[in-house]
């Protein structure tokens, strides 16, 4: 039944992503499309700042539904991811009905009901009133135990609470998992998901993104920024800049009404692009070569 409610074609997906100003190539579209159609989670890997998380947000917007986000971290456990009983409220409730003459059974029934359950993202996602997008961000940061638990939820779409019983999913959410490859994910989890790898964009794509996200940008400046970023990613940096950095930089320079890139500007604004002091130093030292290989003519050099 649910399948029918999402009768869309591949080109619709592309249009949807386009409308949300997300520039996607065919591989991305196909993965998103199939994960929607097959109702399978989508595992997205890739370097930082290439728009992995963004896909989930865009999908939620495009599907006009809610995004439920779960940020993973080391030590994340069931109480933070699934549910927790609201102990204080239970206690207060018991206090209030102390003299009402209810039997112990009745009391127990009330305090272990939905009202006293604090839903955490996973439970929220499967009991949401409509099909939601569940984003499980940086899943490789969580512990392996949690990953196995996730596996169970992702395949059965149900959660068992000892006090009340099993809660079945009302709507199976559209799940997006992202990872930075800090840890190898288990084979089991991989097999539950469709896999997508997003790499840094090439020049054309990056320029397209900049153009659409920073509408007022000067053509020359934009092209130069993108060229420069492309070259920057070719040298070995500790933290290569992602698209997010490109956009920040483009916005910053555009706001400063700069219409071409020169060394001084780059030096002054490098902090927007590079977030590691070693990288900054390395780039500062090889700025001339970078300009040269990026094919940007420096006006100072001409004089």
């Amino acid at each position: 039944m649910e399948k029918n409610s999402y009768k869309i074609s591949l080109s619709d997906i592309k249009k949807m992503l386009d409308e949300q100003v997300y520039i996607a190539d065919d591989g991305v579209c196909m993965s998103v499309f199939l994960s929607l159609q097959l109702n399978k989670p989508l595992l997205i890997e890739g370097p930082a700042g290439v728009g992995k998380t963004e896909i989930a947000k865009v999908m939620a917007k495009a599907m006009q539904t809610d995004l439920i986000r779960m940020q993973c971290y080391e030590g994340l456990d069931a109480t933070h991811a699934i549910y927790e009983w609201n102990y204080q409220r239970q206690l207060l409730h018991l206090k209030m009905v102390e003299h009402s003459g209810q039997s112990v059974d009745e009391k127990e029934k009330t305090i272990f009901s939905q009202d006293f359950l604090m839903k955490r993202p996973l439970l929220q996602a499967i009991t949401h009133h409509r099909k939601a997008v569940l984003l499980i961000d940086e899943v490789d940061r969580s512990d392996e135990e949690f990953e196995s638990y996730l596996l169970e939820v992702l395949s059965d779409w149900q959660i068992t609470i000892p006090e009340t019983g099993t809660i079945k999913a009302t709507h199976i959410p559209q799940v997006i998992l992202t990872g930075n490859r800090t840890r190898e994910l288990s084979e089991g989890l991989r097999r539950r998901c469709l896999y997508l790898y997003i790499d840094y964009p090439d020049f054309e794509k990056e320029w397209l993104i900049v153009k659409s996200k920073v509408p007022g940008i000067d053509q020359k400046l934009g092209v130069e920024i993108c060229r420069f970023m492309q070259t920057l990613r070719n040298i070995k940096l500790e933290k290569p800049p992602g698209i997010a950095e490109t956009l920040d930089w483009a916005m910053a320079l555009s706001a400063l009404h700069i219409d071409y890139l020169d060394k001084k500007t780059v030096e002054q604004t490098l902090g927007v692009v590079l977030k590691d002091w070693k990288d900054t130093r390395q780039v500062q030292m090889s700025l001339s070569e970078l300009f040269e290989s990026a094919g940007i003519k420096s006006k100072i050099d001409d004089l």
């Binding site: 199939l34 204080q88 097999r191 896999y195 070995k236």
Partner: protein
């Protein structure tokens, strides 16, 4: 193994088997998913068809990168068969396993070494013998198996390390004393519960690998070990040093092994050069001070040959030992029966080392678990 199939679905199933033969991990479930996905796409368009299969059948970056080639290979072979009769004989495709290519870098590295003894190769059976064998004397043919063992070993080691804190299942034990105390203000009504849980004492590891000339024979293996270990053990920082220290954690983390190895080789000119252990260790103390604390185990892979300042080395070692939980020095030369640590650098470092052990074969790497 490619025989011509008449229906598309049969072909897809066969394609899956073809991929499986090429090292893809595919089960019947994926095959079913692939077939299912056909109903949503316009599969007569080759590109879309390919994209769809790619999205469904690949499970890792490695597979994604190989897919296009294999796809073309398979369907091209199929087109050739189209003129022939249905139910033709099987047409084997001869391709060298892609796996081999990934070890090329390593092999060439080792091929430069004179230590490969041909006569020995024949008599060695892979398996337990391999683990006893000195890294420097591994015949090229056995490399693959050795690498596999190293990978498996690092997985086991990390599991062993992790077990320490995963054992405490009772994460949320109520802390009675603190609970009572906390609730005094509520007139003794137990309104807020205080919990106690076993503190996760996560051991951090710092691996330092000497990549100077004298270590040449072992570096490839140690790097492979560090690479594999980093994949399975979360809290780890990996460094390489010869005359200066370099953090290679990220580099190893973001690439597959041959690429990482290539990058390492290309970007560092003083690799396989002299050794300044003192200066390198001082770098660790100075620039990466935050990494060193009482929960950190420092593992140094080096033979102790030092061309730098010996008293300096002594001082750095002292600081490192004082600031970390444990210092383990693994020396590849210590595997020889006649070895005694009389190199000046080694002697200077020894007083500040908690564990000194050989690391010349798999067996010795396995023992690493005992000290972690």
């Amino acid at each position: 193994m490619i025989s011509r199939q008449t229906s598309l679905s049969k072909n897809i199933v066969q394609f899956c088997r073809f991929l499986r033969n090429r090292g893809f991990l595919l089960s019947a479930e994926e095959e079913a998913t692939a077939l299912q996905s056909l109903q949503f796409i316009n599969y007569s368009e080759r590109n879309i068809f390919k994209q769809a299969l790619k999205a469904v059948l690949c499970r890792s970056l490695k597979e994604l990168r190989e897919f296009d080639k294999l796809f073309n290979e398979y369907w091209k072979e199929l087109e050739k068969a189209i003129d022939s009769k249905v139910k033709t004989e099987t047409k084997p495709i001869i391709t060298q396993g892609t796996e081999d290519a990934s070890f090329k870098a390593l092999k060439s590295w080792l091929n430069g070494n004179q230590n490969i003894e041909k006569e020995e190769t024949a008599s060695y059976s892979i398996g337990e013998n391999l683990s006893q064998k000195d890294f420097s004397a591994v015949p090229v043919d056995d490399l693959d198996d050795l690498m596999k063992s190293i990978k498996a070993l690092s997985k086991r080691l990390s599991a062993q390390l992790n077990r320490r804190y995963t054992h405490s299942d009772k994460v949320h034990l109520p802390d009675l004393r603190r609970t009572l105390r906390k609730n005094m203000r509520h007139g003794g009504e137990l309104f807020e519960i205080a919990f106690k849980k076993t503190k996760p004492k996560r051991t951090k590891l710092i691996l330092l690998c000497d990549v100077s000339k004298s270590m040449d024979l072992y570096v490839a293996f140690l790097l492979q070990f560090m690479f594999a270990f980093q994949r399975v053990f979360g809290k780890i920082e990996t460094f390489a040093f010869s005359t200066s220290l370099e953090n290679i954690t990220r580099l190893l983390g973001q690439h597959d092994f041959p690429t990482a190895l290539g990058l390492l080789g290309s970007r560092n000119n003083n690799w396989s050069g002299g050794t300044k252990i003192g200066e390198s260790l001082n770098d660790l103390v100075q620039k990466h001070a935050r990494l060193l604390n009482k929960r950190t185990i420092v593992v140094i892979f080096s033979d102790g040959w030092d061309t730098g300042d010996i008293p300096f080395l002594e001082r750095s070692m002292e600081t490192i030992q004082r600031r970390s939980k444990k210092v383990i020095w693994l020396n590849p030369l210590a595997g020889y029966a006649s070895y005694s640590p009389d190199v000046a650098g080694m002697q200077a470092a020894l007083p500040f080392v908690d564990v000194f052990a050989p690391v010349h074969n798999l067996e010795s790497l396995r023992k690493l678990g005992r000290w972690l």
